[in-house]
Symmetry: C2
Subunit: 533 residues, 2 copies
């Protein structure tokens, strides 16, 4: 151990206590484990419990030049989990900073620390009998809200674009100093948190997908619960119909008929949400054959592409939007169906097919529909984590942990303008590349904003099968190269893709390098995280 690191560890222990500086090899190994192969080793995990301790730890890291990688609750599944983007880092885990610092029902916001999980915020709002909704995700119940925001993750309601609902931040810089963004830099500013721009440059953007600071507080805007919410679903039969689906939906998303982030999953995506790989029926063959997929699709009544969206407002407003959607989509898509809480409750009670559920495996469908409906109304769910076990030979246990159970998962999420031709081109690259590597091309397209869609591609595999880790990484890399060559760049990177972008063509690298030189002078903060390319 180099003497600098030794001295730093002594200093960290003084600040946060011996038991919060973890160096046991067994624990470190767990932190070094993701849902794909990783090489980066860590030397310790620090567990501060307050902003002051985070500041002190960073001051120590700077003093002794110790590379330090902050994580919140470390649930960055599919993108690297808790594993740092560089070798030989210390992990600074912010799980213990888990306070909800402020709550304002009138102005519809909450202010929280990085250890606050989505389940915690959900429970808090419930306990307060709040009429506000959070926007939830289908990832872990204990994933950090700030961690998700820092990666610009998204959800399902009109507040789906999480970073877009940040009213202000506190940030600890590499040198340990604290910064308040927006009006927050003036201690008495009343509008801090509600008016994000503040006065002067707007800085929040610097701290998402970057290594320029550690977010220790976010003011998050919440959504006033509408009187009524209704989901709608439809599908199309052929994978070539994707282009038309996107063209049909764009105007509805742009004009506000659909106010939330719609999702369009393909057959591979749907089946992996419902069940594990059909090892028996396929007699162990991969990838899933077209014939078997056709059978599964018939059984569960899904199409090549399956869309789900949600309408919000008064009952009458939703009725108007529904009418417009029907008029626009009827005859052009299959099985346009609407679902609300009442119908869901009824279906659950009866457990027998409704007209719109005719022929469907109802209990199985409800298992999928209930959490989807929940997500569109701000209820987090951990149900979908089971899908990371898609290619495993055993079912997901009651407490799924894809890192521990050697589930293979890599995500790649290119963004495009919401145009049919782009969706179709992305799909064509993804399908051909993934099938070539014998993986199922599971894709979910999210109309994240009025104009843009995120196409989330899952490479799911079994890390216990020899050679799969390498094959998945090769498949990922080839796909990323093809996508960026065609103009489709990912909205987010993982440690498997941090080095995968082509070089940019302007002053960006020079500028960001200089910026980093100022804000992260001895490069100790999260090295190689979102490198400047």
């Amino acid at each position: 151990m180099n003497p600098n690191l030794r001295a730093a560890l002594v200093a960290y222990r003084e600040v946060i206590g011996d038991e919060q500086v973890v160096v046991e090899r067994e624990v470190l190994t767990r932190y070094e484990t993701a849902t794909f192969h990783t090489d980066n080793k860590i030397v310790a995990v620090l567990r501060p419990s307050s902003v002051e301790q985070v500041q002190q730890c960073m001051a120590i890291s700077t003093q002794y030049s110790v590379a330090t990688y902050p994580i919140s609750t470390g649930k960055n599944v599919g993108y690297g989990s808790r594993v740092p983007s560089a070798d030989n880092c210390i992990i600074l885990e912010l799980k213990r900073l888990n306070r909800i610092l402020e709550f304002n029902e009138d102005l519809a916001y909450v202010s929280l620390e990085p250890g606050v999980t989505q389940q915690q915020l959900y429970d808090f709002l419930k306990e307060k009998k709040s009429k506000l909704w959070m926007d939830a995700t289908g990832s872990f119940l204990d994933h950090s809200i700030i961690g998700n925001i820092a990666e610009r993750g998204f959800g399902h309601t009109p507040f789906a674009d999480h970073f877009n609902n940040v009213g202000g931040m506190d940030v600890v810089l590499a040198n340990g100093k604290l910064l308040h963004t927006g009006f927050g830099r003036f201690g008495n500013a009343k509008a801090a948190g509600v008016y994000r721009w503040g006065v002067g440059p707007y800085l929040d953007g610097l701290f998402a997908q970057s290594n320029l600071g550690i977010i220790t507080r976010v003011t998050l805007w919440l959504m006033p619960a509408p009187e009524y919410c209704q989901n709608f679903f439809f599908s199309v039969e052929k994978s070539d119909d994707l282009s038309e689906v996107i063209e049909l939906l764009r105007p509805l998303r742009l004009d506000g008929t659909i106010q939330s982030a719609m999702h369009i999953g393909n057959d591979y995506k749907v089946i992996s949400s419902i069940r594990r790989y059909p090892w028996e029926e396929s007699q162990g063959e991969v990838p899933l054959s077209k014939e078997l997929m056709a059978k599964l699709a018939e059984k569960w009544d899904f199409g090549a592409w399956n869309a789900s969206g949600s309408l919000y407002g008064s009952k009458q407003e939703v009725a108007l939007a529904r009418k417009r959607i029907k008029k626009h989509l009827q005859g052009r898509v299959k099985k346009l169906r609407f679902l609300d809480e009442g119908l869901l409750r009824l279906a659950e009670k009866l457990q027998k097919p409704y007209h719109w559920l005719t022929g469907v495996n109802l209990p199985e469908m409800l298992k999928l529909l209930k959490p989807i409906f929940g997500l569109t109304t701000g209820v987090p769910t951990g149900e979908m984590i089971a899908s990371t076990y898609w290619r495993k030979k055993q079912a997901a246990p009651a407490n799924p942990d894809p890192d521990r159970d050697r589930c293979g998962l890599m995500w790649l999420a290119p963004v495009a303008p919401t145009k049919g031709q782009y969706a179709q081109e992305i799909w064509s690259i993804v399908e051909s590349t993934m099938l070539k590597y014998a993986f199922e091309p599971a894709v979910s397209i999210t109309l994240i904003t009025e104009r843009a869609m995120d196409c989330v591609v899952s490479i799911s595999y079994d890390r216990d099968v020899a050679g799969e880790d390498e094959r998945a990484q090769s498949c990922h890399d080839e796909m990323l190269n093809k996508l960026t060559a065609s103009g489709y760049y990912p909205y987010r990177l993982g440690i498997h893709s941090m080095g995968g972008l082509p070089a940019s063509e302007d002053a960006y690298i020079e500028l960001m390098t200089a910026l980093n030189g100022v804000w992260n002078p001895n490069k100790i903060m999260a090295p190689s995280r979102y490198p400047f390319k």
Copy 2:
């Protein structure tokens, strides 16, 4: 003239041509003139016509250490017009970069240069028979859209928060290098302009209200024109009713019943929009007496506070929103009235009172209502510039130019969370301070976002009256001090207020100074613009 400057001028002339480097004293004096007293002199005006020329000019400025102040069309009225924030600058005027570079009807955006004016974009959309609306302002028809965005100006439709509708930028740095924000740094990225965050840190925020770069291109999102738009108006009688008005409106703004930036103007604001100061009736006395205001208010039928908002959607959707607004406001406010294009046309044709216009000076009211309705449907207007002549002894000419005509105008625009008590407290500070200095406390409160309001205070005076410039500045400074001491910070600064903020309490100054050291190394870009406090 110092030899560096002399050499720089030679170099500028080589790049952009002799006739585009203006040094005539008479012209320079015009650029040094705002709607309040300014001391800063300029040494030349450069008029490049392309991004390449802007880059070359900045490279020269850096080489010869010439302080350079970029302006777009220079219509920053009430905040300093074209006058730089420091003495002895060269002005880099971007008026000739006036191309609309890209237009996409399907994805609802336009990409433009800093010389593009709001009238130009409006005409362009009309010519294209576009079904998209821009968001317009009541400032000059020839004000620059990018200039307004760079100051985070706002308008009247659901797209009122202009900076919030920027999809990406091109920026020339102090050293002349070009940066594309978001995905734009990858030359082939299809989502550049539609997905603003890009991948990695989001940088756009750095270039609004700053001196870190010159914005030479913005992709601006436009609003799909709704089927129907209806304005609504109401007033309250007592100035103390403001608090209740804000409390009534907040939930409607938060839940999306009101999707646009509502405006609430007080009696002083309304009267100064309708006519000049009543010099005759007041026998030359200032400020306007309560008695005379009461008479004027009766004649034109306005209240102590007068709100105007707008509803958008299908006719049926607007009807639902209208019903909700009626239910929520009726009995609590006076004269709740609704106005749409049909009614406006009819009223114009008949020129006689409608029920809702009973007793009102109809031609005068229409003069005010028509441009307001226009603004809520994306039609720019120059009509409101006349109000800058409020305290002048002569009426505004056909081609109003407040700088030239020595109109006095200073703006101060504190932000607060949308709570009645805050509005009332701001109003109390503004009223007492302005009356003390014998100015009319004209205030317009804009519910700019779901949670925040901008309170725009106008100090209007006549620069031809001896001592008024000084008195206005003192009034402004005292008001700003009181407001910030109470926690109300302005959303924007002018050159009359650049030095007026208290020091911040965290790492901000240190950080921004370092940032500036990197991006603006010899401090030649817009010195003293949004200083780091």
